[in-house]
Subunit: 187 residues, 2 copies
DNA sequence: CCGCAAACATGACGATCATCATGCTTGTGG
DNA sequence: CCACAAGCATGATGATCGTCATGTTTGCGG
C-alpha cells in the first residue's frame, strides 16, 4: 500500500463515523457519498478505495452505530436503576434533538425496511443489541427477560420515532414523557 | 374547466391513493412522481395540474392514509375486546407483509422525520388519529386514557417498525408475537 | 355555437448522484 | 534505491428525477 496502513485505517474509520452521523441525521437517501467524504476530510474520488458501493458504506455505518449503542448501555449499572437511567436518557430531549448521535433504530428504521441492502446488517446488529440489552435486565428467567427486552425496546423506539416525526415540540415532549413514565414505574 | 369536474376529482383521488400505497410500500424517496402518475393511469405531465409539488402530494397522501387508519379503527367495537382485536390485526403478519396498505407511522415515520415538508401534515393527522384511538379506549379518566393511547401506539409502531427492518422472518414474527402478547394481556 | 382555459400528453431542462476513468503522489517491499 | 501499486484528487459519464414548456384536446360559460 502506498499510504501507511494505520493512516488508511484511520481514514476508513473517519468515513464510517461521518456516514453514521450524517445518515442518522438526514436519512440514507438524504446524504450523498460526496457529502460523507467531505465530512471525513476527503474528496469523493477516494471513496471506492474504501468501499465497494454506497450500500456497503451503509452496512458499515449501521455496524458503527451499534458500537456506539453498546457504549451507552455499558455506561449504566446492570440493575433496575441502571435500566431506568438508560430509558430516561434514551427518551430525553437531548436524544430527540441529536439524531445524528443517537439510536439507529429511531433514526433509520423505516428507511432500512425499504432498503434490501441495509436489512442484513441491521438484523445482525439488532440481535447483538438485543442480547446486550437483555444481559443487563435484572432478575427473572432468560425467556421472560428476552420478552421484556423486546417490549421495552419496541416502546422506546416507537416513542422516539413518533416524537421525531412530529412538528409540535409540546406533542413530542408529551410522547417522550408519557412513555418514559410508563416504562420507569410499571412492571 | 375542460374536463367534467367529477372526473377530474376522481383522477385526483386516484393519484393520491396510488401515492399513499406506493410511498408506504417503497418510501418517500423511493417513488418518483412519474411512477405515481403511471399507477394512477396518467402520464407525468398532468401532475402539476393537480399538485404544486411532490411535497404537496406527500402531504395529501399522508392525509389519505389517516382516513384508511380511521376506517380500520371503526371496524372494531369500542371496548376492551375491540381494542385487543385491533392490536392483533395491527401486529399481524398480514400487516407486516403489506406496508402499502397499512399504517403510515410504521411505514414512513423516520422518513417523515427527515422531511420538513411532510412533518406538518403528519403532526396534524397524528393528533386526529390519537384522538380517535383515545375515544375507543374503555373506562378510566380522559387523561389516563390519553397516556394509555400514547404508550400503546408507541409500542405497536415500534414493534412493526423493527419487525419490518429485519431480514429474518422468525425474528420479525417473534417481535410481533411478543408485543402482541404484552399488549393484550397486561393492564 | 364559439372562444377560453383546464386537463392531459410529449418532451426538454437542470440538478443531483452513484460510479468509473485517469493521472498524480508517495510509501513500501524487494 | 527503485519500481510498483495503493490511495487520493479531478473530472467525466450515464441515469434518475422534479419541474417546466409547449401543443393539443375538449367541455363549459356566455
Amino acid at each position: 500500500m502506498r499510504y501507511p496502513e494505520a493512516e488508511t485505517a484511520e481514514k476508513h474509520q473517519r468515513i464510517v463515523e461521518a456516514a453514521a452521523a450524517l445518515f442518522r441525521a438526514r436519512g440514507l437517501s438524504g446524504v450523498s457519498v460526496s457529502e460523507v467524504m467531505k465530512a471525513a476530510g476527503l474528496t469523493h474520488g477516494a471513496f471506492y478505495n474504501h468501499f465497494a458501493s454506497k450500500d456497503a458504506l451503509i452496512a458499515e455505518a449501521i455496524a458503527e452505530t451499534t458500537k456506539q449503542f453498546l457504549d451507552g448501555l455499558a455506561a449504566v449499572s446492570a440493575d433496575r436503576a441502571g435500566l431506568e437511567a438508560y430509558v430516561t436518557t434514551y427518551l430525553s430531549r437531548a436524544h430527540l434533538d441529536a439524531p445524528g448521535k443517537g439510536c439507529v433504530m429511531a433514526a433509520l428504521a423505516t428507511e432500512i425496511a425499504h432498503d434490501p441492502a441495509a436489512k442484513p446488517s441491521f438484523t445482525k446488529h439488532f440481535n447483538i443489541l438485543l442480547t446486550a440489552f437483555l444481559s443487563r435486565f435484572p432478575g427473572k428467567s432468560a425467556a421472560a427477560t428476552r420478552k421484556d427486552s423486546i417490549q421495552t425496546v419496541s416502546t422506546m423506539v416507537g416513542a422516539m420515532v413518533l416524537a421525531r416525526a412530529t412538528d409540535d415540540p409540546a406533542l413530542a415532549e408529551e410522547i417522550l414523557a408519557t412513555v418514559k413514565h410508563g416504562l420507569t414505574t410499571a412492571n
